[in-house]
Symmetry: C2
Subunit: 183 residues, 2 copies
Amino acid sequence: MRTEIILSGAGGQGLILAGAILAEAAGIYEEREVVQTQSYGIQARGGASQSTVIISDKRIKFPEVRHPDILLCLSQEAYQRFSPNLKKGGLLVIDEHLITLDLNHEERDVVVLPFTSEAERLGRRILANLIALGAIAELAKIVKVSSIARAIPSRLPERNVPAALEALQVGARLGEINKIIQL
Amino acid sequence: MRTEIILSGAGGQGLILAGAILAEAAGIYEEREVVQTQSYGIQARGGASQSTVIISDKRIKFPEVRHPDILLCLSQEAYQRFSPNLKKGGLLVIDEHLITLDLNHEERDVVVLPFTSEAERLGRRILANLIALGAIAELAKIVKVSSIARAIPSRLPERNVPAALEALQVGARLGEINKIIQL
């Protein structure tokens, strides 16, 4: 089993941090094989930024993500750029308020969730990344939410850890509710 | 110009952090194209751990590092495993006290520096990663030491930033002195 994930959005949304946390959760706390990649430069600066994570049960020989199984988009530009590459039958997760779906081209199941408005409710818009991570963990069952929670403290200043853990739980609930609705 | 760098050692030596800082320094503060990769899992757990950074003036199409231009080794196992792959004419940088050179096979120029003993002198062995980064920046001129210094605060808790910046400068001096000796 090999799962390829792209977390995409704009610079400053904390997607590189989210990718690093996801990688650590799977690699260190669940002992899977993980390769995590992030790009800086033109690719990252102009609008669309991305962090890729590959989680596998076997040694990862090809570390590139071409057609992700799971794609998170937190900006319109990231959605336009990365969503055409989603694997057939893959999971597309987007922010409710930041993205307008291109309905002419959208034939897939898409999970639309209010990450940024939930983050604003928690008082910090930057938490949208961890809310999204919690939701994806619940929706796709790639790693346990508890493993992500364990990886958070090593990546954030101590004072931000409680809010980050709360954001993760809010996201996990969003993911859970969405699954129940879809049944 | 494309430069491939591997920072290798044992888990817990902060090489993933060092790779992330180097990537941010080049990508955000020098506007180069950068791809940074880190592995978790068996590859990372058992002894040898690595963080790879590719810095380029053009868009990076192939994000894998097979034959690095620059290789840092902070453990014997990392040295055994990664040094055979160093590009011909590449720069091999190793810790003076942690690694015994395999002289039967070592025909290259190797830069041997006391990263961990300098880190111990500063009171924190974990700083060896940033001392090494400062030295490599001076030796190879891949990024400015000042760009690395700018990238440090976003990656470390505030209370650790002054010691990290000092470690970087200690490393830069080591690199500089080494270049003078070799002339």
